[in-house]
C-alpha cells in the first residue's frame, strides 16, 4: 500500500499586488477588501506604538505581529461573533477585529490581568503563552458546541514552533477522531525565537501534519489576506456543516523580533529580513486597491490619521487606568476565597504599599515567554 498526498498552497494576490483570476467574487468586493486593509493597518499602527511604549518603560514585554497582519485579519474576518477564538500570543490583529480593545491588550502586556477580561468577545480565550497547549482548548470548546448542537466553530492559532509540541499533535488527533468543528491555523512565521523553520521540522510543509490525524490540511500564503480569508471561510463553513476540522498553514514571516526582550540580529541575517519586506501583506493589498481605483492617497492619509488617533486615545486610557488593588491577586482564584487562604489575604493587605494614585503604569521587564 502506498500513501501519497499533495498540499496545495493558495495565493490570489502576488507580492507585487497582482491578482490571480481564480480569486472570484471576493476580489471584486471593494468594501470587504477595504475592511481588510483598514484592519491590517490598524493592527500595524497599534503594534508599532506598543513597541514604543515598551521601549520607554510604559509597557512590559510585547510580542509584535509585524508582517503577520494578514493572517490575523483574514482569520477573524471569516469568523462570526458567536464563534470562539483561541489565540496564541502574537494574534492581536485577529483579536482586535474580534472586539478585544487596544486598552485591554495594553493592560495585558502592561502586567494587568484585567486585560484578559474582554468586554466584547466574552467567550474568546485569553492569550496562550505555553506553546501548543491551547489547541486542546479549541478542540474541547468545539466538542462542547457539537454536544450542545450550537452552530459555532472554534478557531485556534498556533505557531510553527508550536506544531513541534506533543500537545499540538494530541489535540489535532482528537479533533480528527471526533470531527469537532474546529479550524486550527498555523501562523508559520518561520522562526521559533531563534530556531528557523527548517530546524523545527523535516517535513516539507507543516500542513501535512494533518494527514497523520486524518484531517484535511491546506497551505495558504499568509501574507495574502484575500487567500487567508477564503481558505478560513471555507474551513469554517465545512466545520459548520459537520465536515469536521481543518488544519491551515499560513506562510508568513516575522519581520520583527520574537518579543521586545529579543534581539533577532543575534541569529538571523538582516538582509533576509529586508528581502521579506517585499512580501509583506499591507503593501501588496494597497497596490491592488490603488490599481483598481478602490484606494487613494487621501484615503490613506485619513486612515493613518484615524488609526494614530485611536491608538493615542487607547494609550491615554491605558496609562490612566487605575492600578488594581494590591490584594486583587486573591480575586478570582476560586469562585470564593477558601477560608484556608484568609490569613494570607490579611498578610498581603497588611504589608501592601498604599493603594494611592500610581505613577504611570507598573511596567515590568521580563524575559520573553514561549518559543513559537
Amino acid at each position: 500500500m502506498s500513501v501519497s498526498f499533495r498540499i496545495d498552497c493558495l495565493q490570489f494576490l502576488s507580492p507585487s499586488g497582482e491578482l490571480n483570476e481564480t480569486a472570484g467574487a471576493i476580489a471584486r468586493d471593494a468594501n470587504l477588501l477595504e475592511g481588510f486593509y483598514r484592519a491590517m493597518m490598524r493592527a500595524r499602527i497599534f503594534d508599532g506604538k506598543a513597541i514604543a511604549l515598551q521601549r520607554t518603560g510604559k509597557l512590559g514585554t510585547f510580542a509584535s505581529a509585524l508582517g503577520q497582519e494578514a493572517v490575523g485579519v483574514g482569520v477573524a474576518s471569516a469568523m462570526l461573533p458567536r464563534d470562539v477564538l483561541v489565540p496564541s500570543y502574537r494574534d492581536h490583529a485577529a483579536q482586535l477585529l474580534r472586539g478585544m480593545t487596544m486598552v485591554e491588550n495594553l493592560l495585558y502586556w502592561g502586567g494587568d490581568e484585567r486585560g484578559s477580561d474582554f468586554a466584547v468577545p466574552r467567550a474568546d480565550f485569553p492569550i496562550c503563552i505555553p506553546v501548543g497547549t491551547q489547541v486542546a482548548h479549541a478542540v474541547g470548546a468545539a466538542y462542547a458546541f457539537l454536544l450542545r448542537k450550537e452552530d459555532r466553530v472554534a478557531v485556534c492559532f498556533v505557531g510553527d514552533g508550536g506544531t513541534g509540541n506533543g500537545a499540538f499533535y494530541e489535540a489535532l488527533n482528537m479533533a480528527g477522531v471526533w470531527k469537532t468543528p474546529v479550524v486550527i491555523v498555523i501562523n508559520n512565521n518561520r522562526w521559533a525565537i531563534s530556531t528557523p523553520r527548517e530546524r523545527e521540522c523535516a517535513a516539507e510543509t507543516l500542513a501535512q501534519k494533518a494527514i497523520g490525524a486524518g484531517v484535511e490540511g491546506v497551505q495558504v500564503d499568509g501574507n495574502d489576506v484575500i487567500a487567508v480569508y477564503q481558505v478560513v471561510r471555507q474551513a469554517i463553513e465545512k466545520a459548520r456543516d459537520g465536515g469536521g476540522p481543518t488544519l491551515i498553514e499560513a506562510l508568513t514571516f516575522r519581520l520583527g523580533d520574537h518579543t521586545t526582550a529579543d534581539d533577532a540580529t543575534r541569529y538571523r541575517d538582516p538582509q533576509v529580513v529586508q528581502q521579506e519586506w517585499a512580501r509583506e501583506p499591507i503593501g501588496r493589498l494597497r497596490t491592488y486597491l490603488a490599481a483598481k481605483g478602490f484606494w487613494t492617497k487621501d484615503r490613506e492619509d485619513a486612515l493613518l490619521k484615524q488609526c494614530a488617533a485611536e491608538v493615542e486615545q487607547a494609550v491615554a486610557a491605558y496609562l490612566a487606568t487605575p492600578a488594581q488593588q494590591n490584594d486583587s491577586m486573591f480575586d478570582h482564584l476560586y469562585a470564593a476565597l477558601p477560608f484556608a487562604m484568609q490569613s494570607q489575604l490579611e498578610e498581603a493587605r497588611r504589608f501592601a504599599p498604599g493603594d494611592g494614585p500610581r505613577e504611570a503604569v507598573r511596567a515590568v521587564s521580563s524575559p520573553g515567554g514561549g518559543d513559537g
Binding site: 497547549t133 470548546a141 468545539a142 462542547a144 489535540a171 480575586d331
Partner: protein, 325 residues
Amino acid sequence: MAELTLVEAVNLALAHEMTRDRDVLLLGEDIGVNGGVFRATNGLIARFGRERVVDTPLAEGAIAGVAIGMAAMGLKPVAEIQFSGFIYPCIDQMINHASRLRHRTRGRLTCPMVLRSPCGAGIHAPEHHSESPEAMFAHMPGLRVVAPSSPARAYGLLLAAIRDPDPVVFLEPTRLYRLFRQEVLDDGEALPLDACFVSREGRDATVVAWGAMLHEVMTAAELLEQEGIEIEVIDAATLKPLDFETILRSVEKTGRCVIVHEAPRTCGLGAEIAAQIGERALYSLLAPVKRVTGYDVVVPLSRLEMQYMPSVARIADAVRKVVEG
C-alpha cells in the same frame, strides 16, 4: 439503601450527576464500552450515550486540555486518567490553564472540571501504577484536591467536586476500590469540600491521614486502644484547600500529632500540616510532630510495595513515641 464498594459509589455519583445535569460528561481512555479499567464508568455509555461518555485517544495531556476547553464553554467534564503514573502529562494543562483560567480572565472564563484518577499502591499493579501525586496538585494555586477514604465519602465528595465551579483533582485510592462495602444512599447529597472529617475521637494523640491510609490508621487505633491509648483520627479528605482549623482544634486537645501519608516524605502534605501546627499550635504540643510516610524512594514493584507503605506497626510505633515523649 445499597451496600456499595468505593468504585461502585463513584459510578453511582457519576450517574446521579449525569442524570441531574445535562452539562456533565465523562471522557477518558476505555471508559465507554469497557466501562473503565477499574469499571468506574461501567454501564454509563448505555445510559448516557457515547457523546457523553467519551472514549478518548491515548493522550493524557490532551484529555486534560480538551476538558478545559469544554469547561470554559460551560460543560462540566469529568475526565478519567487511567492510572496514577499517567497523570503527569496533565500537570502542564492543570497548572498553566485549568487552575488559573478564572484568575487570568478575572472570572470571565471558568474551569468547572474534575480530573479523576486512581492513586496509591497496594494492589500489586505494574510499574507506574502506584503513585501518590496529591502534593504536586495541592501546590498549584487555584486547584482543589480531594481524596476519599470510603464509599460514602467518595459518593458525597465526587458530587461536590462535579458541582464545584472550579477544577478539582479527585484521587481515588485504588486499594479501596473493592476493599469493603458500605451503605451508600443515592440521595444526591454532596459533602463539604473544605472540611476534614473526624473519623474517631480520642484524647491522647491526633492522627491525620487520608485515602487508603485512613484504614491503616483505624486499625492502628484499635490496637492502641488495647494498650490504653486513645487516638483521634482525622480524615483530611479535601487536601487543598485544607481545613486546618479541625486539625488544630484536635491538636490543641490532644497535644500530640502524627501525620500519615503514602506519598514520599519530602515536601509531602505532611510537611505543610506539620508546619501549620508549628506556626499556630506549637504551645499546645507536648511532643514533636511525627510523620509516618512512604520513603523518599521510587514506589517499589509489587514484592516490596507493602514495606514501602506506612503499616499499622509503623503508625502504632509513631503514636507510642509521641505519647511517651
